[in-house]
Symmetry: C2
């Protein structure tokens, strides 16, 4: 479950069993995002979910990104 | 609520009130997708949801794409 640096963001793609499982994962990520008031870009391609974290208001990565990434990783 | 052609796909971006509303919209789209056994690529950027429909197994657009697009439009 590795995050990779992509310019001013960190990106992780998670592969789930199917689309329904991908949606359940997205909804759990969304709860964490709302709790943190920090929202990754989320792309769903059937069973694959790509999360992109960056702090747009700061023009790059901040502690908020790494903290939310850590909480998302703890979902697994 | 217009779909635009992008090569072998049709694409629509819907702007909702906020992230929570975007998630609710995605979950409703997901129900339609599961019912149709046809799944758009879905990207969520805070309050904006982009849906991309194509029939990968057919290498392009088919009636399944336009039918699901019609059902998604009926959600509004």
């Amino acid at each position: 479950p590795a995050w990779e640096r992509d310019e001013d963001a960190i990106v992780r793609t998670v592969e789930l069993a199917d689309f329904a499982a991908a949606l359940r994962f997205v909804n759990r990520v969304a709860e964490l995002a709302e709790a943190a008031d920090h929202h990754p870009d989320i792309t769903i391609r059937w069973n694959k979910v790509t999360l992109t974290l960056s702090t747009h208001s700061a023009g790059g990565l901040t502690g908020k990104d790494f903290e939310l990434a850590r909480r998302i990783d703890a979902l697994d």
